[in-house]
């Protein structure tokens, strides 16, 4: 007789399937880095765009040291924000089109957590190069070393928040054609506080004042984004994958 030993869910062939949350995070993160490095031209676009925007300002506005010093925080932060927006549409698109997201949706793992891993991998490939380039470019803007340090720190705290906020828009629009500008309009308003605080922190450092206020706020935004954004992104992905 047919032996149907199929009790509550545990398939004997399955072994122990459940990855712990951190192992799961690492598996998804590594996979995205592995794929992303094969597509390095996509990832390098945002860093190149960042360099382009920042180097154009001295040519168009003024090469004078005091003018550049005044412009630097705003220009570098705006360029970082635009570079983030430029790369966001790639965040989930390939996974949606090739069916990877369908597969992740059918797994018994929390979707938001896996998407957080994907967003972090995306930030490592697009945000970190910007943060590395920023001090170099800031020196060409005649920023003093103390302000360069604060600028880099503010980018380090702020750009992950930008990527996270952007992931909501990317999840909402990845099923749409030509949604790049729409995506920018959806998420840019959410990013404004980060932009203002980041540029303000550098401004204060330039003026030799206390910068802890804006930096703490940037940190608070980052914590808030890490804890709340995955829920929204997961909801949006479920809609996009339908």
């Amino acid at each position: 007789m047919a032996a149907v030993v199929q009790s509550s869910g545990q398939d004997p062939a399955a072994g122990d399937s459940a990855l712990g949350p951190f192992a799961l995070f690492r598996v998804v993160f590594q996979r995205d880095l592995q794929v992303g490095l094969r597509r390095w031209t996509d990832a390098s676009n945002s860093a190149l765009f960042f360099i382009l925007v920042v180097t154009l300002f001295p040519l168009a506005v003024s090469p004078k040291a005091d003018v550049l010093r005044m412009l630097a925080p705003g220009v570098i932060w705006i360029a970082a924000l635009l570079a983030t927006l430029l790369s966001l549409h790639l965040l989930f698109r390939a996974d949606l089109e090739d069916g990877t997201l369908e597969q992740l949706l059918t797994l018994p793992y929390p979707l938001g957590w896996m998407l957080l891993a994907k967003t972090l991998a995306h930030w490592v490939m697009t945000g970190v190069p910007v943060i590395i380039m920023a001090p170099v470019l800031a020196i060409t803007y005649h920023l003093p070393a103390s302000a360069v340090g604060i600028l880099t720190l503010s980018l380090l705290l702020g750009t992950p928040t930008l990527s996270l906020l952007g992931s909501i828009g990317a999840a909402l629009t990845s099923g749409l054609r030509g949604a790049g500008v729409l995506l920018a309009f959806i998420v840019a308003p959410l990013m404004l506080p980060v932009l203002m605080l980041g540029a303000r922190a550098t401004d204060l450092a330039l003026a030799g004042e206390d910068v802890t206020g804006p930096l703490y706020l940037l940190g608070a935004f980052l914590v808030l984004a890490v804890s709340l954004v995955p829920v929204a992104t997961a909801g949006a992905i479920r809609i996009s994958a339908d």
Partner: protein
């Protein structure tokens, strides 16, 4: 023999093969796409260890029905249950695992077949079997090649390998024999038969004749006027 069931409301008769009661059931499913009603008040029951073949012309809603079962698409009304409980909740709670294989094969063209499958195998805890499964689906020799170099049929075989590496009790396969040669089609049929033989359940949308031999199976015709 005494079949051990930890949960579920199905009477023991279900395990003896009485077709009225199943592990997987759909009830009152209605799906609209735009202004077209694909199906209305559709119900089905799949007994454990059997396969339900979804048949019907193009556009009849075979893929949509599979996606509804997989909880990827939300129907206008109706529910999918697993042993009497809401299927989606059972999946999220880890009580049942499903393998879904759709038109999109979830393969990254830049990575090798082995690297592609290793990712999913790590997620399902079956990393140790990647090599054996690749051999089994006939990809042993080209497992190291980037997926973009593989033929359409070889990619389809890699998708079958992903299903085999899922360790899932429920397989949802959408046209699994597309692009496959005779040998590959047979491999799909053998894999499904073995899965059913081990007590697994499958729902397959199929155009081509899927020869499951004596394995328990039922048919669901969609799109009948």
């Amino acid at each position: 023999m005494s079949a051990v069931r930890g949960r579920g409301r199905a009477p023991v008769a279900a395990l003896a093969g009485v077709p009225e009661v199943g592990v997987l059931a759909g009830e009152g499913l209605t799906l609209w796409r735009g202004t077209t009603c694909l199906f209305e008040e559709l119900s089905f029951v799949v007994p454990p260890g059997s396969c339900m073949l979804i048949e019907g012309p193009n556009g009849a809603g075979k893929t949509s029905l599979l996606r509804i079962i997989a909880s990827l698409t939300v129907p206008e009304c109706g529910t999918i249950t697993w042993r009497g409980r809401l299927f989606r909740d059972e999946v999220r709670a880890g009580q049942v695992r499903l393998a879904f294989s759709g038109h999109a094969l979830a393969l990254k063209p830049e990575l090798s077949a082995r690297a592609n499958l290793a990712f999913f195998a790590r997620l399902t805890g079956m990393s140790g079997q990647v090599g054996a499964v690749l051999e089994r689906v006939g990809l042993g020799d080209c497992a190291h090649l980037e997926v973009r170099r593989l033929s359409a049929g070889q990619k389809r075989r890699a998708a079958l390998a992903r299903v085999l590496l899922s360790g899932a009790e429920l397989w949802l396969l959408d046209e699994p024999q597309t692009n496959l040669d005779a040998d590959g089609r047979e491999a799909v049929a053998v894999a499904i038969r073995q899965h059913l033989g081990q007590g697994g359940t499958a729902v397959v949308a199929a155009h081509q004749v899927l020869d499951l031999a004596a394995a328990p199976q039922s048919r669901l015709m969609l799109g009948e006027a």
